[in-house]
């Protein structure tokens, strides 16, 4: 039998499709109520949203006219999933970065240093959870290194502002692609952060027991 056996189900599927096979007919005996689907065929106007906070940013795409990112990829924001856990940590880091920025104005460099250390620690916790998006993980990794080696004497207000903005971007766009991740890293670099310091990388490797070098050898470049 070559007759197509697909059902014609025009009353059920949103995108009901015409079945033109000859000799078929299907009757559905149930409520005859027409399925009124979406009002969405109408053009919609969505007001632009302000991105003034971490949570505000998370509810709108960059252009402010699309569905919120947590509607598009809700699984990313599930607190029990790795991605959701990552975002919770990013939220914490964002708060730490804002605290550092406020302390910088005081000026309270000790608090700045402690907040940056806390951010580095948070980034270290996030990194193993970033398998869902390597681009996202690359930015996390850069921030971890940058905040680990940063001296509070060298940190600037633009640098801290940039860090706050980048953390906000991470939170609002966990599905970022490589280009977007590169842009964020470039933004950090241009505001004075150094996340690709060779010595720091060696030190981190040593701290994580990933290095074959002796600890003394690792420290040599730091004490010329």
């Amino acid at each position: 039998m070559t007759a197509d056996s697909s059902y014609r189900r025009t009353n059920l599927l949103t995108t009901s499709t015409e079945d033109t096979s000859i000799g078929q007919r299907t009757q559905t005996r149930s409520s005859a109520t027409a399925f009124t689907f979406f009002k969405s065929d109408l053009q919609r106007r969505i007001s632009k949203r302000n991105n003034t906070s971490l949570s505000g940013e998370s509810t709108a795409e960059a252009e402010g006219i699309g569905p919120p990112i947590d509607r598009i990829y809700p699984q990313m924001f599930d607190a029990e999933a790795p991605a959701g856990q990552s975002l919770t940590f990013i939220h914490n880091a964002f708060n730490d970065a804002q605290s550092a920025l406020e302390a910088f104005s005081s000026p309270d460099l000790q608090t700045v240093a402690s907040r940056l250390t806390q951010i580095a620690s948070t980034m270290a916790r996030i990194h193993p959870l970033t398998e869902f998006n390597e681009s996202f993980g690359a930015v996390v990794s850069f921030i971890r290194r940058a905040t680990l080696i940063a001296s509070p004497l060298e940190v600037s207000r633009p640098g801290l502002n940039s860090l706050v903005q980048v953390l906000r971007s991470l939170y609002s766009n966990p599905m970022m692609d490589l280009d977007e991740a590169s842009d964020l890293v470039d933004e950090l670099k241009s505001s004075g952060w150094h996340g690709e310091h060779g010595v720091a990388e060696t030190l981190i490797a040593e701290l994580l027991n990933e290095s074959d070098d002796e600890p003394e050898e690792v420290q040599v470049p730091l004490f010329p």
Partner: protein, 236 residues
């Protein structure tokens, strides 16, 4: 979870966009690309503004304003299908030159079969989703087999929507074949079933270049499974 006792029957994934006139120039390329993604599909219809490709358990419609993949069968949401949906979206995005999606939606239909539509309706009544009158109304008999409910839950704002539908139905499927070839030329099959139909979509403007179809479908499944028992709870 209530869905565990149901079988996935079909999945429809649809994109809507501003007129993609590129379809007039690239229809052949699109069909060729899609045929590398979906094995054994053949062209059912090809006109300037619409192409329909069909294969076993799949139908792909590409048109100037919207494009759709319709899958049937229990494996419509398995990893291989999600990958194919992702690749199909990428073909549309590239060759229809899609920059912005006006709507992205997916609809899945889960079914549970019953010996009769009356039993399917009884199951739906047992969910206590609506109040049924206790005495005869509208001059209709209270014990008619086709008495039943059709329940729609709609959750919608300017960004997205979710519509959950439950209903019992009896489908009569009839085929008339050429008696010259087939002795039993008239065939008729009847099925009674309870349907859970979940329709979810994004509204407004979605950046096509950043949209990840595979992750979006995972999100669709995630929230359906996470939340359906909050809406429908079987009364024990």
């Amino acid at each position: 979870m209530i869905l565990d006792s149901y079988k996935l029957y079909s999945v429809v994934v649809q994109l809507q966009y501003a007129e993609a006139y590129e379809i007039w120039d690239r229809a052949g390329t699109i069909s060729k690309k899609l045929s590398t993604i979906w094995p054994d599909i053949t062209t059912q219809k090809a006109s300037p503004d619409q192409q329909i490709l069909r294969g076993k358990g799949v139908r792909i419609d590409t048109t100037i304003k919207k494009s759709t993949v319709t899958l049937t069968g229990e494996k419509s949401f398995d990893q291989r299908m999600i990958q194919r949906l992702k690749e199909t979206f990428e073909v549309w995005r590239e060759f229809l030159n899609l920059n912005e999606l006006e709507r992205v939606s997916a609809r899945s239909v889960y079914v549970k079969e019953f010996p009769s539509v009356k039993e399917a309706n009884a199951e739906l009544f047992s969910l206590n989703l609506a109040r049924w009158p206790s005495s005869k109304v509208f001059d209709q008999p209270m014990d008619a087999d086709l008495n039943g409910l059709e329940i729609h839950y709609r959750f919608e704002d300017e960004s997205s929507f979710a519509v959950l539908t439950l209903k019992a139905e009896e489908i009569v499927y009839e085929v008339e074949l050429d008696p010259y070839f087939i002795a039993e030329s008239e065939q008729k099959v009847k099925k009674s079933r309870l349907i859970i139909d979940f329709d979810r979509g994004l509204l407004g403007s979605v950046d096509a270049s950043k949209f990840r179809m595979d992750e979006w479908i995972k999100g669709y499944q995630h929230i359906l499974r996470r939340d359906i028992d909050k809406v429908i709870t079987k009364q024990l």
